[in-house]
């Protein structure tokens, strides 16, 4: 699939109708989502024929992108039932076959190494400090191959240290810097629209991952 084609298909997905500020529900735009999964597949071969989990999937954009890029199975996980409902409708509209689970990422209990790659646009931790790092820690425990994630560029050093020292990642690399459009969704937003600089990261889990729980 071509990048443009992927982006335009993702552009048709329905987004949050009543976004919840406390969950930092911001739609992952088609521009960012398509570049994330296109890079993961074409530069690093982390998507096609793989089992991919979308952590905090929201309306399911990244999971849909993974599926369109040839993932064998996609699992979308979110805490919010309304988001999951929209995500299932989105998957149906694109005739994609995605598995969904309602769960708080912090309490995910998973048997063994099944997921190859985790993709996520985690909460940036602006409403609840540390939320982004909880997602990263959980993702690095579950992925046996790679974790793709977006984090604010302003937190780059912190993210790197946490991944390598705190969560035992064997590598942590910024693949590119992107602009994340934040539309005025919530009352506490003063400007109509702003964009913030985010890094697209690729983390590799511990190299011996997968031999035990």
């Amino acid at each position: 699939m071509k990048l443009k084609q992927l982006e335009s298909m993702l552009g048709e997905l329905q987004q949050f109708s009543n976004p919840k500020a406390e969950l930092e529900q911001y739609p992952t735009g088609p521009h960012i989502a398509s570049r994330m999964l296109y890079t993961a597949e074409n530069s690093l071969g982390d998507v096609s024929n793989k089992i991919v989990a979308d952590f905090g999937c929201g309306c399911g954009t990244l999971g849909a992108a993974a599926s369109l890029m040839g993932a064998e199975q996609v699992i979308g996980i979110d805490i919010d039932s309304e988001s999951l409902e929209i995500a299932s409708l989105n998957a149906e509209d694109l005739e994609l076959d995605i598995n969904f689970i309602q769960c708080d990422i912090r309490n995910l209990a998973w048997r063994g190494p099944i997921v190859d790659t985790v993709v996520m646009n985690p909460p940036f931790g602006t409403r609840r400090t540390g939320a982004d790092m909880e997602f990263l820690s959980a993702a690095l425990k579950i992925a046996s191959r790679a974790v793709y994630s977006l984090h604010k560029t302003s937190t780059r050093e912190h993210v790197k240290k946490a991944a390598l020292r705190g969560f035992g990642a064997s590598s942590a690399e910024v693949l590119c810097e992107l602009r994340f459009d934040v539309p005025k969704l919530y009352k506490f937003h003063k400007k109509r629209e702003m964009d913030i600089a985010v890094d697209l990261w690729r983390f590799a889990p511990k190299t011996n991952q997968g031999n035990d729980n």
């Binding site: 024929n49 064998e72 199975q73 699992i75 805490i79 039932s81 999951l84 409902e85 299932s88 076959d97 598995n99 969904f100 689970i101 309602q102 769960c103 708080d104 309490n107 995910l108 209990a109 998973w110 048997r111 063994g112 190494p113 099944i114």
Partner: protein
């Protein structure tokens, strides 16, 4: 919820030592056909908990899987077709997953298992 998902989910309640496999309570099962991909099944096979899959499939009304399986069976298309069907084509649409240790039920509605915990279970 496919049995693929069931085969990796575990009860996540605090203090539960062995939360796998979750028991299945069936209200409604649906079948959806998907493309047969033998390579995927061969890769997936060593990662599966076979007994959990056989029991889950049986609960869902599918009794064709052999009690025991080893990798030599992956040569047989007939076996792969059965595995494909059990793992990917039968869905628990409505029902529940039950923690094997505490009996706590996690509801499954519209095919989505709800693994959210109550405050005192975290």
């Amino acid at each position: 919820m496919r049995l693929f998902t069931h085969n990796m989910l575990s009860s996540n309640i605090k203090g539960v030592a062995n939360g796998f496999p979750l028991r299945i309570e069936v209200d409604q099962v649906v079948e959806k056909q998907v493309d047969f991909n033998p390579d995927f099944l061969r890769n997936m096979f060593p990662k599966l908990e076979w007994k959990a899959l056989v029991d889950a499939a049986r609960t869902m009304g599918y009794t064709e899987l052999p009690e025991e399986a080893d990798s030599s069976m992956l040569e047989s298309e007939e076996f792969l077709r059965k595995l494909h069907h059990a793992l990917l084509e039968i869905h628990l649409e409505e029902g529940a997953l039950v923690c094997p240790e505490t009996g706590r039920k996690f509801p499954v509605n519209k095919g989505i298992p709800n693994m959210l915990l109550h405050e005192d279970e975290v």
